[in-house]
């Protein structure tokens, strides 16, 4: 006989399903109320679309033949100067046999896949987050080490920096960085955006690194130093590798926050995912669909990152 009676779990799953269905229904009713017309079919074109590109003739001459080949047509242009005939593949033909063609005249259109603004914005968000995360990690590492240094100057500077950043809103920091520092140093808006994000995340990472280093038992340093390792070697080979393993989960959270916080750089006209979304809405009026899509894209990126870091964490757990 079991000592502990375990109640069945299925009623709770049923309740969960009911709540989710209820929420979906509520959302649907709400959009009915405001007479919103969903136009999801407008969204895919903002990821990628087929652009019409005019096919220009490289030579002047006369259309000598048009050969059909499935959806494609081949326009054959025989140059006026008696050179070899040129074959131009097009999807919509705009000329007839015998037409005189000048150089750079269009003989028809063909289609090419182009990347849409949502994909472009997503890409900008990813690489801005990546670069500022990397720079922030470096800043955080240095600041974290200064923060626990015995030198009062280094420690004081580290504390000042951390407190300044943590005590002010990121949005304000971005404006200051762009309008003040950016103007003084004549920075590009992308550089200013990345700089502001890196400084912001660096302050938080510094505190994470500091806590990580302080969580490593003193005996580790004593063992390393008693073997003749210098303070630097002790940090590099003994303390930091162990500290890094411990701070991976909070660091992961910080990087995920960074991706989300990077949406704020749209205020200094960097066309990231958020700004792309706003621009698309002014053209398509598909407000709800685009914002939902943008949210979903952020969710995909942050979930992928959290999976990656989870995998990394398990790899490092080998020595436990």
């Amino acid at each position: 006989m079991a000592l502990k009676h375990r109640p069945a779990a299925w009623p709770w799953y049923l309740l969960l399903a009911a709540i989710l269905i209820g929420l979906t229904a509520g959302l649907w009713v709400a959009t009915q109320r405001v007479h919103y017309e969903w136009r999801w079919e407008r969204v895919p074109q903002y990821f990628a679309y087929r652009a019409e590109v005019p096919q220009e003739s490289p030579v002047a001459g006369r259309v000598s033949a048009i050969q059909a080949d499935g959806a494609l047509s081949r326009v054959v242009v025989t140059p006026a100067d008696g050179g070899a005939p040129v074959v131009l593949p097009v999807e919509t033909v705009q000329v007839a046999i015998g037409d005189a063609i000048d150089r750079e005249d269009s003989v028809g259109d063909h289609y090419e896949w182009r990347i849409g603004p949502l994909t472009q914005g997503l890409w900008v968000t990813i690489w801005i987050s990546f670069v500022s995360g990397l720079v922030g990690l470096l800043i955080g590492l240095i600041t974290g080490l200064c923060r626990i240094s015995d030198n009062p100057t280094l420690r004081g500077l580290a504390i000042l920096y951390i407190e300044l950043i943590r005590g002010t809103p990121l949005l304000v920091q971005i404006f200051i960085f762009y309008f003040f520092i950016g103007t003084v140093l004549n920075l590009d808006r992308i550089v200013a955006g990345i700089g502001a994000l890196a400084l912001f995340v660096g302050a938080y990472i510094a505190e994470i690194i500091r806590a990580g280093i302080q969580s490593i038992p003193k005996g580790q340093t004593e063992a390393a130093r008693s073997l003749g390792m210098s303070a630097f070697q002790n940090m590099a080979y003994i303390v930091l590798p162990q500290a890094f393993k411990r701070v991976l989960p909070p660091l992961a959270g910080q990087f995920i926050s960074l991706i989300k916080d990077s949406s704020l750089v749209s205020v200094i006209a960097i066309t990231d995912l958020t700004k792309s979304g706003r621009e698309i809405i002014t053209a398509s009026f598909a407000t709800f669909e685009i914002w939902f899509t943008v949210a979903l894209l952020y969710l995909v990126v942050t979930s992928l990152l959290s999976q990656l870091l989870f995998w990394l964490e398990r790899r490092f757990a080998r020595s436990d």
């Binding site: 008693s226 073997l227 390792m229 070697q233 162990q242």
Partner: protein, 244 residues
């Protein structure tokens, strides 16, 4: 080998400052095994930790092989290469395998090539009877095995002196023997050793001199035969009555 002159170490607590090591002078000759005993809080561990500068002392002098470890021109890291230390809680590097624990300092401090460092490490692991665990992580080892690895790690630097800070105090009783055996073998081979321990059997069998410390002072300094049978100081007599 080790010379200590008027060593003073004061801990500034919230209350009265405590003289953990109070005007201690002694010496350990080459090849000598000195065991330091005394009640807890007597300052024996602090004294030992002063010998390789892990504890910064307030006054006095420590000379290792004639080099003043607190001297303004002394590179403490260079001195420490020659002074191996074994800790109560082993302090193995948990993120490194057993073999890496032994080779890391050889490579980065002694600048040995990987092949040479591995060879030295394997020879020492064989010596302490643990070669088959070379590629395990320390967390997989028992306490006794970890402490033997820690001894091998210190020996891998080819030190001239070995300091032991209560090397068996954190071990389960059945594992004390295997660690003491390694230390006895080391003593037989002529290693200069300073050992803080509560293992009176070890002191009696291996030590050339026993130092009894209480309240930061060395109260007795005698060969084990004399110390264990006819201690002079009343406090040493009281201590021995309790532990024997």
């Amino acid at each position: 080998m080790i010379e200590v002159k008027n060593l003073l170490k004061v801990f500034e607590g919230r209350g009265q400052p405590v003289r953990a090591v109070d005007d201690v002078s002694t010496a350990v000759a080459m090849g000598e095994v000195v065991v330091i005993v005394g009640p807890s809080g007597s300052g024996k561990s602090t004294f030992l930790r002063c010998l390789n500068g892990l504890e910064e002392f307030d006054d006095g002098q420590v000379l290792i092989d004639g080099i003043d470890i607190a001297g303004s021109k002394t590179n403490l890291n260079t001195v420490r290469r020659e002074v191996g230390m074994v800790f109560q809680h082993f302090n193995l590097f948990p993120h490194k395998t057993v073999l890496e624990n032994l080779t890391l300092a050889q490579r980065v401090v002694r600048k040995r090539k990987a092949g040479e460092a591995n060879e030295r490490a394997m020879a020492l692991l064989t010596k302490v009877g643990i070669a088959e665990k070379a590629n395990e992580y320390p967390s997989r080892l028992s306490g006794g095995q970890q402490q033997r690895v820690a001894i091998a790690r210190a020996l891998a630097m080819d030190p001239k002196v070995m300091l032991f800070d209560e090397p068996t105090s954190a071990l389960d009783p059945e594992m004390v023997g295997e660690v003491l055996d390694v230390m006895k073998q080391l003593a037989r081979e002529g290693m200069t050793m300073a050992v803080v321990t509560h293992e009176m059997g070890f002191a009696r069998e291996v030590a050339q001199r026993v130092l009894f410390m209480d309240a930061g002072r060395i109260l007795e300094d005698a060969p084990p035969a004399q110390f264990f049978t006819a201690p002079q100081e009343p406090r040493a007599q009281a201590f021995l009555k309790q532990v024997l």
